[in-house]
Symmetry: D2
Subunit: 345 residues, 4 copies
Amino acid sequence: MILILKGGATEQQIDHVIQRVESLGLKAHLSRGTFRTIVGIIGDESEIVVESIRAIPGVAKVVPVLPPYKLASREAHPESSVVDVSGVKIGGGHVGLIAGPCSVEEEDRMHRIAESIAAAGANILRGGAFKPRTSPYAFQGLGEEGLRRLRDVGNAHSLPVVTEVTDPRLVELVAEYADMLQIGARNMQNFALLNEVGASKRPVLLKRGMSATVNDLLMCAEYILSQGNPNVVLCERGIKGFDPATRNLYDVAAVPLVQQLSHLPIIVDPSHATGKPELIPACALAGLAAGADGVHVEVHDCPEVAKSDGPQALLPEQYAELAQQMKSLAELLGKTVSPLPETTA
Amino acid sequence: MILILKGGATEQQIDHVIQRVESLGLKAHLSRGTFRTIVGIIGDESEIVVESIRAIPGVAKVVPVLPPYKLASREAHPESSVVDVSGVKIGGGHVGLIAGPCSVEEEDRMHRIAESIAAAGANILRGGAFKPRTSPYAFQGLGEEGLRRLRDVGNAHSLPVVTEVTDPRLVELVAEYADMLQIGARNMQNFALLNEVGASKRPVLLKRGMSATVNDLLMCAEYILSQGNPNVVLCERGIKGFDPATRNLYDVAAVPLVQQLSHLPIIVDPSHATGKPELIPACALAGLAAGADGVHVEVHDCPEVAKSDGPQALLPEQYAELAQQMKSLAELLGKTVSPLPETTA
Amino acid sequence: MILILKGGATEQQIDHVIQRVESLGLKAHLSRGTFRTIVGIIGDESEIVVESIRAIPGVAKVVPVLPPYKLASREAHPESSVVDVSGVKIGGGHVGLIAGPCSVEEEDRMHRIAESIAAAGANILRGGAFKPRTSPYAFQGLGEEGLRRLRDVGNAHSLPVVTEVTDPRLVELVAEYADMLQIGARNMQNFALLNEVGASKRPVLLKRGMSATVNDLLMCAEYILSQGNPNVVLCERGIKGFDPATRNLYDVAAVPLVQQLSHLPIIVDPSHATGKPELIPACALAGLAAGADGVHVEVHDCPEVAKSDGPQALLPEQYAELAQQMKSLAELLGKTVSPLPETTA
Amino acid sequence: MILILKGGATEQQIDHVIQRVESLGLKAHLSRGTFRTIVGIIGDESEIVVESIRAIPGVAKVVPVLPPYKLASREAHPESSVVDVSGVKIGGGHVGLIAGPCSVEEEDRMHRIAESIAAAGANILRGGAFKPRTSPYAFQGLGEEGLRRLRDVGNAHSLPVVTEVTDPRLVELVAEYADMLQIGARNMQNFALLNEVGASKRPVLLKRGMSATVNDLLMCAEYILSQGNPNVVLCERGIKGFDPATRNLYDVAAVPLVQQLSHLPIIVDPSHATGKPELIPACALAGLAAGADGVHVEVHDCPEVAKSDGPQALLPEQYAELAQQMKSLAELLGKTVSPLPETTA
């Protein structure tokens, strides 16, 4: 890490900086420029150390040199990780296609949707049982009943299932039913929840928060990894932007950026990123072309009766067309859409 | 609510829209323009209804007419609410001055800081015992030991205390020690947590999330209010912006905006909003001038040894000077800084 | 357009609204809801009318129904436009590949770069002669000498050329040398300049401003179209975002969005969007996959001696590899990279 | 400036970096850490040098140490500048109160508005004659006729006048009539225009662009200063934000930030920042409390017939009340609202 001292820092301040740095067990290397004095520091760059140093009188700026995440970084782990979701691989050339309704719906409908997406080539079924809703008066999900139904429908169609968990007290319950635990964008920095899914053995789908930098996202993955769960798949699902024409701002450049900084797989979610069905196919293909390890799309056979987020779902026939295009594109890129597992647990 | 249909919506689509609207128990009022057909809808405007309607084929846009929050809205409750924090009033002309270190520190230091802020005129002591940190390797707070110390120090100086709660499982514990429960920016949309503090009887300090609109903030207040806890104080603490010159973007216009939309008190936190001690006094005064019902400032007597967020703390002597200016400004605005309670619980 | 009146608007206010609307030559259609009165308005929706109406006492909100642009809208012109840049087609299935250095460089180097990009499959050469620089002390371009050199090099390699114009007084001069006039992001709303290029006969490459919505971009295209120049190609080149990890935020969803709203071609510029050579190939492919009608990439054979923006240029060999991938992807999408014209003017 | 080399930079790359740095006439100072090699550079930090160095193979990051502006920086000019607008002082404790309609209106109305704002205590009259409008179909201003009228009305009420100039070809004409030239937000980085107003002798009101950082704003001031015109007043008028509840996002923290980095005066414009009359008074007071050297407010006596921007104007009686509050607040802060000049030119 590098300290830039304020213009006009006194000798006394410089001495104090050196002394403080050394009292933290670090080595300081002084360099006096014409206008500014610089102190190079060798050693630990954890957040608490950076903060302490930035608060020393006379310090203008602290420039970290190393990334603050370790387990998530590609430097520490050069090979791309492959996450196995009950037999479906994501990462390292294996493409995951996650599809399904926003909320778990009635049983018949779930079977119809699952059948259609499996036929189209999707390999993981999604559906929310515990829904984080901006309004306390909106539908909050079916709870355990929804988990059970999702599991049954997944089994019937040989599709592993992913569903969101929103409360640390529910991680154990959700992990009983689901093959993969989703952390939603609003909970990306819910550290109590991250610690719980980190302690679980289930693969985790970690969605990027709406105001999270890529660095923030990787730090949250680090929480999960540091608890001993290495099976983290990241997801770009749109961040906050100023143009009301789309629901969120789809940051497709985050895909290659994450892949340079980290070994973890990253998928895209054009449904939440755009909120507009007519933009989803183009943005799904863009994500794959950018190198994404998978694509998450909401699918519903009658959006106007969906329990939530109907307006952003594709119809099964639209999804089938898109899935065909995604397979061709994956092939062009030298990747494979992962096949369904023989049987799911 | 108003539906704008797509250009070229067919008669069949229009009929289906009317039918769907009526099947939801609402009344539709059709209006055919030269270029577009409009449907006015009278009745419930909850989120699920808006979503369902937006997903009907042929609908281009849904424009809600009423705010989606009810209990939080000023329409429903024209008089400004006053929240009482163990004897210290916030709102309706009463100014709360919250000050203290980011994390609860060692006992001696806590007493020194508490003494200095009380002497300066602050009326609530803050300090974190459970810290949400972006790094899993950073100091996570002292836990219950921190709560106990904060309580003791508050009692010794007749200062009610506020501290953050980050996990729904900890609400009961924190409420035993604290006069006010803080929900941090990263947890603003942690709905499980909001429901728990809503079920508690303690006043809640609800900080605005970094990507939250004012509408989002009021919807989160609605979660708490709808659980039966009316004692919510909102806090503008900076949102995500594009200029790295400050830590966050201080949205001071949110203060008068919230006050028009809602009866709830709103305070400002220039420490987190700017992240720069040299900007805090100007921004604290700006918040008060904009009409804020209080100001939250981090104070530490030796920022370079602070357990967290040292770089953004004011020194006690800087805070004393600022508090003096805030008192003069409050007076000019016809407001009063709330006095300390005779005794705290 | 639809007016939503304030809750509690008086009969007198309602009458005044109707009267004002009619005095503007428009027809008003009143609809009284339980909580709000709505006025539907039939007729002109130009900006000045919207503003005037929004300022009438008692009006809470004005919701436009029609897009504010006419010539640029797809409703008015359903077929996709094809812009011909001296023989190279952009739009309607024809892909433009624009490449070259940020600034026009010395003659030898320009020839080397032009030769390499033509061999790779690019069909338009770029290079800046008048550079808008954030610093008054930075290199400002070679001026007319640069224009002449760009023209000569383009001719030598049968490549039409595009270059930026930054000053309305220079449009005529630049149009003498260039096949296409670029309006840079910082000048997107320089209306004096838009009017001048609108009066010119040259095709225009209009880059999206860093804080421009898609609607803003289309309004600026409307300026040019309304002056009688129909040859406008739009360009997504990144908007302002909060994550410093990339130079700008690449809004790839703007590509399909523009294509739904407008008939004008739109290309992408991953060089400016990301500012990082290592992200450019992935983002170029993402743009094409999203449906872009072309890709603009900066290429330099020795970035460290580039007169400007060296850090974001691809090397010729990197560009050649990318161009190959772009051609394969275009083919998969049923599009063709436009061939070089037989001869350029 | 400091270079951080990539992890794994080779000896050959390090040698090449040193050689390139020295070939630019700079001195390099090498420092090898455990994980990264750092090169401190002493000498010129202009933009072109930074870019060239960032493009050298093996360089991961360049950290500038000095601000890129010189004439605008407070380091170079510690005392706060006072700008004299034909007898009205702005800066250094002198408060400018600029008020008037968005566009120059008919003569009678201009006199009525001017009279009312002068009586309220405003000291500069504003009014647009050349209007930058997002729509080519909107009212574009009265042109020279508007300039003449503004001048006459200003003279009649002893108010200096400020008006926007949007085209470098018009600077001379506008400077004949106006006491102060306004550069609007959309033209902040119109460098041709900045150079022309820099060559003029008139004071300049430079508004911050909607996506401009404070650093960008100061670089644009540097353009004007470097042309020999030292009379620059900056203006915070709201930047692009994600919450549609206000027109722009009022960045009040930019006021103290600019005052630390620069000696130039800075005023605020809550009219454009919020776009909502009901928020203007609170935000005007917030700006003053944050230390602003002046406040710019749009005033119109019948907003619904305003030629432009009616919805964000205060009525004269609202402005009079606000002006009274601003005077009291200025007094509390030890500042003075500048009196009207005896006569204006």
